[in-house]
């Protein structure tokens, strides 16, 4: 029988397509597989709908506000928030004792004291934490500020540069709200005075400090673009809200109190053309804090001044320290968690269903190069999730921001670049998490365990961090190391070290910067991918 001559072999039904490389075919096959199971498309849709629902309808709500004693809601509550030279929302409240300066010139002063006192106590009377203390009690406020300043004007949001002493962060040169350069360390006192100097030359301002008035150290030189010829120059003090967060299991208790800071300044010397003969005080922005009016002021005796102010000169960060009802665009994306659960289920099932039914054998018989199958599955799942995620994010932001504004919340402005990063980054993060799920599924092969593993690995670090199971430091490390670090890409308002805000995940802040968090997620995906690849190649199907 072996010698039987077979008839002419049949011509193949389809000629070998030229130029169509193997991977393109497998990618197409996996995409066909994905979109022909309605349950998976529904799963993606459910995730997107949940994301929009939670993000838009649950995320932000403003109860209302008091305007001249009248209870108001909605846009009437929209606060007026100054915008700094960089386009970011800022806080700009301080007491300023100034003169005007035309053309180039300088100011030099000696600072001999900086004292901060509580103005009152607010916050719930919670058994955990307790009250802060009586009004007038002295406290150390790390970022209380007092010193000398050159500013374009006394309008809020104006360009400025300042040399200042802080409660516990030493001497700094700060400019245009976000700039911060460290100068001499240590607390200022009568025994340890600090000499500060600012020199204006055209658009550039240089800051110096000194411990004796003779040896000067350059702290920094900054350019304040389009500084008018006549500017304001003088002494200032300001004092952020004192906030104490008491973490306890299941939440955090926040006690806050307005404060005032008094700077003692003497030996003030000016050079240059200063047309105004005498000093005048101005409460820039008024006191932003509730409490007794006119808490700002100054006292002059010859060349010696005491300046008392309240408020802050800093970028506005959302959270309990902020006195303005704000919202961030990222807050509208909280539904990403819910979406993620649906996306992880779809991604896992896309892989595990093959194992459950033995379909993986058909797949690998059709595409024996197993690496290509894994790559195609990862790409199809990742891109599909990315696309659906992107649409959901755009819905969340357009609907959410409009709703925030209707409710009278000030939506903190972000640069277009940051906005694109938040939008595309969130979608990409969701896509990567789906790829991670596919890889875990290829490793574990059982859907229930895979999905639990995927969701728990992503969600639990977050949960432990936000509900304060672990001390903040441990919680932060969990969020640095877990795949959940990728959520950092959603952070829209940068956190500045010189701002005393509570930068917790609940407020949209993450322990890692956006791209670093994203990189951590990428590392997870890469590691899981490699392990999945090795196992898929090595194991019998």
């Amino acid at each position: 029988m072996t010698a039987t001559q077979a008839p002419a072999p049949p011509t193949p039904a389809v000629a070998e397509p030229a130029g169509n490389d193997g991977f393109g075919r497998i990618l197409r096959a996996e995409w066909t597989k994905f979109h022909t199971v309605r349950g998976w498309l529904i799963g993606l849709l459910v995730g997107a709908v949940l994301m929009v629902f939670l993000g838009v309808f649950l995320a932000n709500a403003q109860i209302g506000c008091q305007n001249n004693g009248v209870q108001e809601t909605g846009p009437a509550c929209l606060p007026k928030v100054p915008i700094g030279p960089g386009g970011e929302a800022v806080q700009d409240n301080y007491y300023f004792v100034r003169r005007s300066l035309t053309g180039d010139g300088s100011i030099t002063a000696r600072l001999t004291g900086l004292a901060t006192r509580l103005q009152g106590n607010s916050g719930p009377a919670h058994p955990v934490g307790g009250p802060l203390g009586p009004a007038g009690q002295r406290v150390t406020l790390p970022w209380s500020k007092g010193g000398i300043m050159i500013t374009a004007s006394t309008k809020q949001g104006a360009a400025y540069a300042a040399m200042l002493a802080t409660g516990s962060n030493g001497v700094r040169m700060q400019y245009n709200y976000t700039g911060d350069i460290a100068g001499l360390p240590g607390q200022v006192s009568a025994a340890a005075p600090r000499w500060l100097r600012l020199v204006r030359s055209g658009d550039t301002v240089t800051g110096y400090d000194s411990i004796n008035g003779r040896v000067w150290i350059t702290v920094g030189t900054v350019t304040l673009s389009q500084l008018p010829r006549t500017i304001q120059i003088g002494l200032f003090a300001t004092s952020p809200t004192f906030v104490r967060v008491s973490n306890f299991f299941g939440g955090a208790n926040i006690n806050a109190s307005p404060t005032t800071t008094t700077a003692v300044i003497n030996d003030v010397r000016l050079t240059g053309s200063t047309p105004l003969a005498s000093w005048t005080g101005i409460d820039v922005g008024g006191s932003s804090q509730p409490g007794p009016p006119d808490i700002g002021g100054y006292h002059q005796a010859g060349g010696a001044f005491t300046v008392t102010g309240a408020g802050d000169i800093a970028p506005l960060e959302p959270g309990p320290g902020s006195n303005v009802p704000t919202a961030t665009i990222s807050q509208n994306l909280l539904g990403a968690f819910a979406a993620l659960i649906a996306f992880v289920v779809v991604a896992c099932t896309f892989m595990t269903s093959e194992y459950r039914r033995g379909l993986i054998r058909t797949t690998l018989a059709a595409a024996p190069r197993r690496g290509q199958v894994l790559a195609a599955k990862a790409i199809v799942t990742g891109l599909a999730t990315f696309a659906v995620g992107l649409v959901a994010v755009l819905f969340c932001l357009t609907l959410g921001v409009a709703k925030d504004r209707r409710e009278g919340l000030f939506v903190l402005p972000v640069s277009p670049l940051a906005e694109v990063r938040v939008i595309v980054g969130t979608a990409a993060m969701l896509g990567l998490m789906a790829v991670l799920a596919v890889c875990i599924a290829a490793i574990l092969r059982r859907s229930a365990i895979t999905i639990t593993f995927g969701i728990v690995a992503i969600v639990l670090p977050f949960l432990f961090s936000v509900i304060g199971v672990f001390p903040a430091s441990v919680g932060d490390w969990l969020l640095r190391l877990a795949p959940a670090a990728g959520f950092a890409i959603q952070q829209s308002i940068p956190h500045y070290a010189q701002v005393a805000s509570i930068s917790a995940p609940g407020g949209g802040y993450y322990p890692l910067s956006p791209w670093a968090g994203f990189a951590v997620l990428l590392v997870w995906v890469a590691a899981a991918y490699v392990l999945a690849l090795v196992l898929l190649r090595r194991r019998d199907a």
Binding site: A61, I63, P127, G250, A448, V469, P505, G506
Partner: protein, 283 residues
């Protein structure tokens, strides 16, 4: 075969025979028990529940300390029961797989052929699941409290400083401990009910984990206090875990037993819906 049939009632004391209609047959319970113990998965999942719960609880206790002369607003009992947050996920897997595995292999057809009263199958599974999870839960919670007792005392949380005695004989820890065991059992029943409705293991476990983990995260991001309050009071985990609190009880959104009651309602509703869908739908 008539010989065999005649011997049957005699073998099962306590049942009144097959004609009893709604009487809950011990044989379906026995069949489910045989099914459960003859595969290794459920036993491993229960062991994992105990191990992971204790491990996370001990880690939480080890990471927390109260230095001298500071105020530490820590609910030490709740802290030492942290592992329940992870243990519940393993319990949920166990519960979901008890049903969805049968659907994915087609075994469910045989199960329903052997016991046509489908609610009885679900009830038998629920009973066995509850028993298994209660045993695992007692071990998990006991181990967690013991770990907390041993670790926290050396981290500054001493009775001399007003922290409660974590030994179970002291009384303070009894309600949270017993409640946590019941919590795990109720989470298992809730998951079982969801699995009976959804059948597919992937979708079922996704929904269960969403129910378990979404609410405590969302509540941290929602700024509306009305919604915070609603989520805290009416979602399974947020309400159910109120049973663990021993501090600030007056400020809890829901009372400890009330919260566990909310979870029990969730579980009962899921089981009921599961029994109805099992009975109405083709296997």
């Amino acid at each position: 075969m008539s010989h065999a049939a005649a011997t049957r009632p005699a073998r099962l004391p306590g049942t009144r025979g097959r004609e009893g209609g709604l009487s809950f047959g011990l044989d379906v319970l026995r069949a489910e028990w045989t099914k459960l113990r003859t595969v290794s998965g459920p036993a491993w999942l229960l062991i994992a529940t105990v191990a992971l719960t204790i491990a996370v609880s001990a880690a939480a206790a080890a990471a927390t300390s109260c230095p001298a002369r500071t105020v530490c607003p820590v609910d030490t009992i709740k802290l030492s029961l942290t592992g329940i947050q992870l243990g519940q996920a393993v319990v949920a897997i166990l519960a979901v797989l008890m049903i969805s595995n049968e659907y994915s292999t087609g075994l469910i057809k045989l199960t329903f052929a052997a016991e046509p009263r489908r609610w009885a199958v679900l009830a038998a599974k629920a009973l066995l699941l509850t028993a298994g999870v209660l045993v695992a839960g007692v071990l998990a919670v006991g181990g967690s409290v013991l770990a907390g007792h041993l670790i926290l005392a050396s981290h500054g949380f001493t009775t001399a400083r007003g922290f409660p005695d974590l030994s179970l004989t002291s009384g303070v820890a009894v309600r949270p401990a017993v409640g946590s065991v019941l919590y795990l059992a109720l989470i298992a029943l809730l998951s079982l009910g969801v699995a009976a409705i959804i059948r597919d293991s992937g979708a079922a476990i996704g929904i269960v984990l969403g129910l378990l983990y979404l609410s405590p995260i969302v509540v941290n991001f929602v700024s509306s206090t009305t919604w915070q309050h609603r989520i805290d009071r009416y979602t399974p985990t947020s309400a159910g875990l109120a049973i663990q609190a021993t501090k600030g009880l007056k400020h809890l959104p829901i009372s400890p037993w009330g919260g566990l009651g909310v979870l029990a309602l969730w579980a009962a509703a899921a089981l009921l819906a599961g029994a109805v869908t099992l009975s109405l739908r083709d296997a």
